[in-house]
Symmetry: C2
Subunit: 255 residues, 2 copies
Amino acid sequence: MQQYFIPTEQFTETHVTVMGEDAKHMQKVMRMKIGDLCQCADRDGHVFNCMVESFEGQNVILKLVEEKSNNAELPIRITLAQGIPKGDKFDTIVQKGTECGAYAFVPFSAERSIAKWTSKWDKKKTRFEKIAKEAAEQSHRDIVPYISEPMDLKELIAYGQKFSNKLIAYEETAKLGEQQGLPTLLKSISPSVEDKLLIVIGPEGGLSTAEVQQFKQAGFICCGLGKRILRTETAPIYFLSCVSYHFELLYEVNK
Amino acid sequence: MQQYFIPTEQFTETHVTVMGEDAKHMQKVMRMKIGDLCQCADRDGHVFNCMVESFEGQNVILKLVEEKSNNAELPIRITLAQGIPKGDKFDTIVQKGTECGAYAFVPFSAERSIAKWTSKWDKKKTRFEKIAKEAAEQSHRDIVPYISEPMDLKELIAYGQKFSNKLIAYEETAKLGEQQGLPTLLKSISPSVEDKLLIVIGPEGGLSTAEVQQFKQAGFICCGLGKRILRTETAPIYFLSCVSYHFELLYEVNK
């Protein structure tokens, strides 16, 4: 069933009014008629089964049938600080990262980032937010991940202070055969607590040793992501899949 | 360090002769000179540190310095049977699946596959093999994954008989909250044994209930891939990441 994220202020106790692009999608793409069903989520994590009640001008009025109880969110909030990559790779990272459960994305201007993103950020942000919304709808998330302003190293380290768990994915760690950082950390987290985790992933050239040193001094832990060298846009999917496997699949078997 | 896969017959006891595209890449892209280092893998899983010794016409002659002992392969061989997807998504699946450790890819003509691939298969296969080789070089794999001819349901089920472990990723299973199939299976496998696993992933529209029924009758087990609905090209990366996490990261901590 198609899912839409609708601004919370368009919900009443019993109905939701769908406007703009979403209303157009319902009518032109999905060709929805009175009585048809879909899912609507507000921006606060509530998801409802809804039924088309009427059309008012270009808007669609839906009746809230029932609130859905299933939670499609990871039990730990993952913020992905991604070294700004080349070309349109950040689009892929936002799309796939949203599918795999990321809570927020922070573009990070790393030493080896070739793209700079100093201009046209507003336009980029709008595009990333659209990609995140569509991927969240497609994968039936409860929330749309947040896209942060780009940060530099100093800002990212300061931002990291509010996280209980801070990691950096470091290729050199993987080369040395150090693979215990991630599972050791995940095993130390109780998934009943709403915990926050920040992971830093480097751009194409990886993080520099100077950057790694500064992250370490600020309490970030190094972790490897398996035995193979992953591209910058594959690493976040690998990481999020591990977190999902650990808490959503394996934990259910172990408990 | 750059890695190349070179046909086994171009290796002697002490040297390897690099020809064609690879020799061109070494000279034109990497601008390698006598004394420069790189890695060369034969097609049988051996990886060597090599040094440029001389140039003979357009060929590059490398001296084998030492065989590398690190194994970058998953401890279980994963064959990915992928419902033929639309557009160039199979390119993405081969590239990212290779990075994440897949052993072989089988394009599967599923009931809901829209693309048919009845013509120009040879050209497609050449492209997929090139993508697999480049991704295996980039991620420092020991082998280049194998690309099979496309199969239909009956052929795939017959092909599956030689696998000790057979799974289907089934979205409806995920919707019902059944997440124990995958971790239960992985826990039953001893990673010291060279085991073979086949996983079937549907195309964009998923597997049909009739297909699922036939796979089940042939001994395939259903498994969910987390709480969110993944795109057809994301599911294989999720799956391979879980296998890597289970055997390469978590296993090291548990033993």
